[in-house]
């Protein structure tokens, strides 16, 4: 069999080895680098997705927390409002009651005064009548005759009035 020299440049072998190298690059790219890089990229995407999920969950939890805090604050505010309103209305009511009571007291006092005045007047009138009758009786007994009541009514009234003013 024919053999080549130990150290020689043979164009055909050179070209063949050049092509072999390029083909080998393609093959190693297709069968090793491409599948491995794909799986590495997939794993990275998975890890990224999990991290993103965790971040999202954290965000959700935080929004829930802030929502909860917001509603708590609202509830507290509402309670305070209710308390304030209740206090205000209570004080209003009490004031009203006091005012009413005062008004009632005043009106009662006024009525009582009126009543007293009426009673006094009634009593005075009664006394006036009695005294008049008594005077007429006395006068009749003194004079011995009946004094016409209607004639002397005016006279007696004057007298009673004078007594009333003096007393």
């Amino acid at each position: 069999m024919k053999v080549q020299d130990l150290v020689t440049i043979d164009p055909w072998t050179l070209i063949a080895q050049l092509l072999n190298l390029f083909i080998q690059v393609m093959l190693i790219k297709k069968f090793l680098f491409k599948p491995i890089r794909e799986v590495l990229a997939k794993r990275k995407a998975l890890a990224d997705a999990e991290l993103a999920d965790a971040a999202k969950a954290k965000e959700e939890a935080e929004s829930l927390k802030s929502e909860y805090e917001e509603s708590m604050k609202q509830a507290r505010d509402k309670a305070n409002d209710i308390l304030n309103t209740a206090q205000k209305s209570a004080s209003q009511q009490s004031e009203e009651i006091i005012r009413e009571a005062n008004a009632q007291a005043v009106s009662i006092k006024a009525k009582a005064e009126r009543d007293i005045e009426q009673e006094r007047r009634k009593a005075v009138n009664e006394i006036k009548d009695e005294i008049g009758d008594m005077a007429m009786e006395i006068a009749g007994k003194v004079i011995g005759r009946e004094i016409n009541s209607s004639d002397h009514e005016k006279l007696i009234d004057d007298f009673i009035n004078k007594v009333g003013e003096e007393s």
């Binding site: 130990l6 020689t8 050179l14 080998q24 599948p35 799986v39």
Partner: protein, 255 residues
Amino acid sequence: MDVSEKIVGPKVYWELPVDIPVLGRFHITETMVVSWIVMIIITTICICLTRKLKVKDVSKRQAFAEMLVETADKFVIGNMGEKFAYFVPFVAALFATSVVSNLISLTGVLRSPTADLNTEASWALVVFVIITSQKIKAGGFGGYLKGFTQPIPVLTPFNVLSELATPISMACRHFGNILSGFVINILIYAALAVASSKLLGLIPGAVGAVLSNVPIFSVGLPAILSVYFDWFSGVMQAYIFCMLTTMYIANAAEG
């Protein structure tokens, strides 16, 4: 068989009986055939390693494949920078082809394609083209030519020489190491065969006559020497070749 008959270039298996200008007769040599075997081995390993890839709980096989890819990435990006990441498959193919080609001689039957200067010359040619294109890309064609006159115009011939010496030295370094291993291996086998034939021939009678025809001394010692000449040298030269490739290309791109 005489030793000098064994220390020859690759066999020519088939030749096209037509002369082609410049290139000569087309032929299929041992180097080409063994290179195809090397390519089949590498591709088969790649396919086996990347079978049934999973995203979660990976097998040892897949972990090894991922480690290979990451090592290649680290090597290329560490030496050349992130912008040369597209060179990773090229450098990986170069390294894998070189290592498998160097070690395939361990079979004892196949001749290393790297023990043929044409193999390294083609690789060095590719590297030279990449270096030149990177230099032109970095400084423009004028800048590339002007680079030869630096630092003073007198040095131009030496600069051209050193530019051409780069691929030649790369090719010859690799080729020389593998060829020397190849030659030394043949010499040792021949020497041990002669030694065992002479020493065992001293045994009188039929026993000596039989044993002297069997190269018993060839068992064992060549294996120890092959640790250096095949394993260490083979892996080392592949590593050096790839290292120089990345370094030269990265330097060329810097301008």
